[in-house]
């Protein structure tokens, strides 16, 4: 009995010590790179906002960040607010509002930015910032055709079977085998339709 207790205590102690060493190593690298990772995430968001609004984004990170600072007004001065007003590239074009919205997918949160014309309610581009959907199924929300299909439409959206390629302003194609992921994106888009209408009523830019 005593031998068995010793054996168990030895195993638990060994595992505990090894876990402590491993976690310390991982935590050290995490802390050393946290600032850099956060900067990368900010830059990715800035690129996505500009791309959604149809602005050509330069490859160089510094140039992209500078373009974002110049062309985009951030609501409440914080990118966490989730509402960005992108200036028109020329005086004739309308300005665009880009919303960052999250929805519940199959495995986790789907994080996206969507551009919309605040006056006409016409959608620009969709960009997926992050998700945990199934590779090959739900993860196909990142495919170009899926993100492109909302451009020029007005919503509120209903899903159609994949391959329909509907031109109707209130229809988008779902992804076969990923009904919940498609519905999550639809709900994000429909939330933006509501937000746009509310902002228009309130008379905000």
């Amino acid at each position: 009995m005593n031998k068995r207790v010793k054996e168990i205590a030895g195993a638990v102690g060994f595992m505990g010590l090894l876990s402590l060493v491993s976690i310390s190593g991982v935590a050290a690298l995490h802390l050393a790179t946290a600032e850099r990772v956060a900067r990368n995430a900010d830059l990715f968001l800035q690129r996505a906002v500009l791309e959604a609004a149809g602005v050509a984004v330069p490859d160089a990170p510094a140039a992209a960040a500078e373009l974002f600072r110049r062309e985009v007004a951030v609501e409440d001065g914080s990118i966490a607010s989730g509402r960005f007003v992108v200036r028109a590239p020329d005086a004739a074009a309308r300005r665009t509002v880009v919303y960052r919205r999250r929805g519940r997918g199959l495995w986790g949160v789907i994080d996206a930015v969507v551009a919309v014309d605040p006056d006409a309610g016409v959608f620009g581009q969709l960009r997926i910032l992050g998700h945990n959907e199934t590779p090959g199924l739900g993860a196909r929300i990142e495919e170009a055709w899926f993100q492109r299909q909302i451009a020029g439409k007005t919503g509120p959206f209903a899903l159609k079977p994949e391959g329909t390629r509907s031109e109707a302003p209130t229809e988008i194609d779902a992804i076969t085998g990923a009904t919940l992921s498609s519905a999550a994106v639809r709900d994000i888009l429909n939330a933006v339709v509501r937000n746009t209408a509310e902002a228009k009523e309130a008379g905000s830019p």
């Binding site: 054996e7 060994f14 090894l18 850099r36 990368n40 945990n132």
Partner: protein, 205 residues
């Protein structure tokens, strides 16, 4: 284990005991990440790093690991190394990290790493285990890179952004999709095992 047997093991892992086309391990990532050469190279470097260091670490610890919890220890060491690779990619190669998505994390479940830990690291000295880990990783890597070159070239006409096929080339889209991975891997295994590694036919009765 002598230097000569280390060299023999190194050669075997690249050829007659290759983890991909002989042992048919690590097929999930072989199919998933081989549509772009750049991503494949990063995945392969990550796997070589994890296989080599997990073998080395477990071999150094092999006389102290309680046998009842050896698999927990193996998973802890492997998972820790994979998370280090993941954090490094997020900090220094965010685009590749995003494109590889869950597959970096899934290195933890790659059968090659656990297989080498169980078969070699727990019973061999550190140098032999390290050599085995490196060679298993390289054996996996060159097969994946060969498949990736074929898939990216036929699927996009380019390799690493450099146009290699003539301007009128029609891309074989199936090559960059999952079925393309199955086809190319199957042909690769068929050519290698059916042609290059075919045992000499027996003569007489």
């Amino acid at each position: 284990m002598t230097a000569k047997t280390n060299w023999t093991r190194f050669k075997e892992n690249l050829g007659t005991q290759n983890p991909v086309f002989v042992q048919v391990l690590g097929i999930c990532s072989t199919l998933a990440v081989t549509n772009v050469v750049r991503n494949t190279l990063v995945m392969c470097l990550g796997l070589v790093f994890v296989t080599a260091l997990s073998n080395l670490t477990l071999s150094l610890l092999r006389n102290r690991i309680p046998s009842r919890i050896r698999m927990m220890v193996e998973v802890l060491v492997i998972a820790c190394l994979v998370i280090l690779v993941d954090i490094f990619l997020k900090a220094f190669h965010p685009d590749i990290s995003r494109q590889l998505g869950p597959y970096v994390g899934l290195i933890i479940t790659n059968c090659i790493i656990m297989g080498r830990a169980e078969a070699v690291a727990l019973t061999h000295p550190p140098l032999a285990s390290f050599v085995d880990g490196v060679s298993s990783g390289i054996g996996y890597a060159y097969v994946l890179l060969a498949i990736a070159v074929v898939r990216e070239l036929l699927g996009t006409g380019e390799i690493w952004g450099v146009r290699l096929l003539w301007p009128g080339w029609v891309n074989w889209s199936v090559m960059v999709m999952a079925p393309g991975g199955f086809f190319v891997l199957a042909v690769f295994i068929w050519v290698v095992k059916g042609g290059l590694m075919r045992p000499p036919e027996k003569t007489g009765g």
